[in-house]
Amino acid sequence: MPATRSDAEHLDASAKWSWVARHRGSLGGIFELELTRRQILSGAAATGLGCVLAHAPQAWPTVSPSSARGELTPQRARTYEALVAAVVAEPPLRLDPACAGIAAAQFADAYSPWSADARQRADRVLEALQRGPDGLPFSAQPRGARARFLRACARVSSKDPAAAERRRLALLESALGLVAVAVGPAEDGGRGLVSI
């Protein structure tokens, strides 16, 4: 069963978080859902997600309708700001986390003109991240906990990471890719990297 926009439209927030809470591990529900990097970002998520949804047909939060209108939803904006606040305070940047608001505003401006596909990919990343660690949504976590979660995502345990590890690395890479939209020199033309 393919994941479609209607899955999200039919899911209220309490049901979503109730389901996620039951399926969350130490690194967040995204990993238990067995999503691949491709599924996270492509907006298709048909095959693999279909297997999961066979067990929880109403559960998967995908892209809400506001994305189709080209605006970043308030919740995704909060997730993004929480992400940036955690990232910029880390050793590679050591900035005041308060500057995350500026970055979030710039990201929202950059996001709106993107293609629907690009917006959906960003939405998927932010939603996966929001499912976050330790039983609380990412944006509701203290900044230190968010940073620890991101650092945990960065750990590599073997030269050929197993599937689950690749998925959390992919989530981190994608999340930091979104951060780089509004953080770092604009002159890099997209080749700039943001690290945790």
Binding site: S42, P92, R94, L95, C99, K159, P161, A182, L193, S195
Partner: protein, 407 residues
């Protein structure tokens, strides 16, 4: 026709930062595409903060992942360029800076009108100590010993690289580019200083390679082809002139195991050179100058480097380049994806024709590179779609595949 215009595909640094990602040599179709397209060279990254996150302490799994990619490429018969990238905060001193000291670095990291979020990363601050005994020198020694053909600490005899490119776009990414402002405005112009760090790196690398008897070819500076200078960037020609003059003044001769490297995104994107097809070619005289050719002309008589140590005929390696689809839209006004892809392919073909010509802009150009097979979301220069979107080959892949191959 140039005797040997080599073709290289540069994978992204994510291949070592996130092993298993689409920029990992072993992922998806990367290996198959290199073989299928007749590409004989591949470029990897040695991201220092990822490989050595703590003082002198390797991230063993990431190092092993880099080893494995290099070994796989070697097993596939590839020639390899390895580029050290970025500087850990423990090595460049930024980890001990106070908040006030960090605030004082902002004129070197962003413009006066930008927010701090637009500042260059602390990972692009080059260390003050670039001697063989310093942290950078020790990291270079590790790479040279580990990846030299038959190096003393190579994990296997098959784990070696051909070229160690010492830096990547230092004139754009690193800081500081300039010394303190000569005016009261801390964001004002100062003397260009970044070349001095590059020269010290070059000298240290030569000393290290000579000391261990390495057969590896050193290379640099991997200059970004920017043409303007201010506190945050240095034009490629301003950088090159200073490096060459400083080396000459110091009596440093690069020799046959030291190659000059440069990037040519602007040349590819704007079809730089005589007969440019750039939309503004009729009104912008800059479009008639191929920057890679200009860079190479500046080396003549001054760079006695790879491959023969002959300053009269220096060779230049282009280690990054390409055309992004977003630029096909922004610069050429092409809104249809199919049109953007066709134009990307056309520009790659036109760049090849320019660079392969011994009598024109291609004189002394020994390698041209394509940045990325799998495109990335925010830099879509790849000749294949994003991995996440299925990774379909683009028309530019067929163009690339159709070009001659040289070792």
């Amino acid at each position: 026709m140039a005797a040997r215009l080599r073709r290289c595909v540069a994978l992204g640094p994510a291949g070592v930062i996130y092993p298993g990602s689409p920029q990992d040599y072993r992922t998806g179709d990367n290996r198959a595409w290199l073989a299928d397209s007749g590409t004989r060279w591949v470029r990897f990254w040695a991201d220092w903060p990822s490989l050595m996150p703590l003082t002198g302490e390797l991230d063993v799994p990431r190092m092993a992942a880099l080893d494995a990619q290099i070994a796989s490429a070697r097993a596939d018969g590839m020639r390899i360029i390895l580029t050290p990238y970025r500087f850990p905060t423990w090595a460049n001193g930024t980890d001990t800076m106070t908040a006030e000291q960090l605030a004082a670095t902002m004129p070197d990291r962003r413009t006066s009108s930008q927010p701090d979020t637009r500042a260059k990363s602390l990972l692009f601050r080059y260390p003050d100590d670039l001697s063989p005994a310093g942290a950078f020198g020790r990291f270079l020694a590790l790479l040279i010993e580990r990846y030299s053909p038959q190096g003393p600490t190579s994990p296997t005899t098959s784990t070696s690289v051909d070229v160690l490119e010492l830096c990547n776009e230092p004139n754009l990414q690193w800081w500081p580019q300039q010394g303190p402002s000569v005016s009261e405005d801390p964001y004002g112009q100062g003397p260009i200083v970044v070349h001095d760090a590059i020269v010290r790196m070059f000298v240290s690398a030569k000393q290290i390679a000579d000391a261990v008897g390495s057969a590896i070819v050193l290379a640099g500076p991997g200059s970004a082809d920017v043409t303007s200078s201010h506190r945050l960037r240095t034009a490629y020609h301003s950088l090159a002139e200073r490096i060459l003059s400083t080396l000459t003044a110091a009596g440093v001769v690069p020799g046959p195991r030291f190659a000059w490297t440069h990037h040519n995104y602007a040349d590819v994107t704007y079809d730089h050179g005589s007969g440019s097809t750039a939309p503004d070619a009729a009104t912008n005289p800059a479009r008639q100058t191929n920057l890679a050719a200009d860079m190479r002309r500046r080396l003549v008589g001054r760079w006695a480097g790879w491959p023969a140590g002959d300053a009269g005929n220096p060779q230049l390696l282009l280690t990054e380049g390409g055309a992004t689809l977003s630029n096909m839209r922004a610069r050429y006004g092409l809104t249809e994806p199919a049109d953007q892809r066709r134009k990307q392919a056309e520009l790659i073909q036109r760049n090849w024709v320019r660079m392969v010509s011994d009598g024109g802009d291609g004189a002394g150009i020994a390698m041209t590179s394509q940045y990325l097979f799998y495109s990335t979301t925010y830099f879509d220069s790849g000749i294949c779609d994003e991995y996440e979107a299925g990774g379909a080959t683009r028309p530019s892949y067929d163009t690339w595949k159709g070009l001659p191959s040289f070792d």
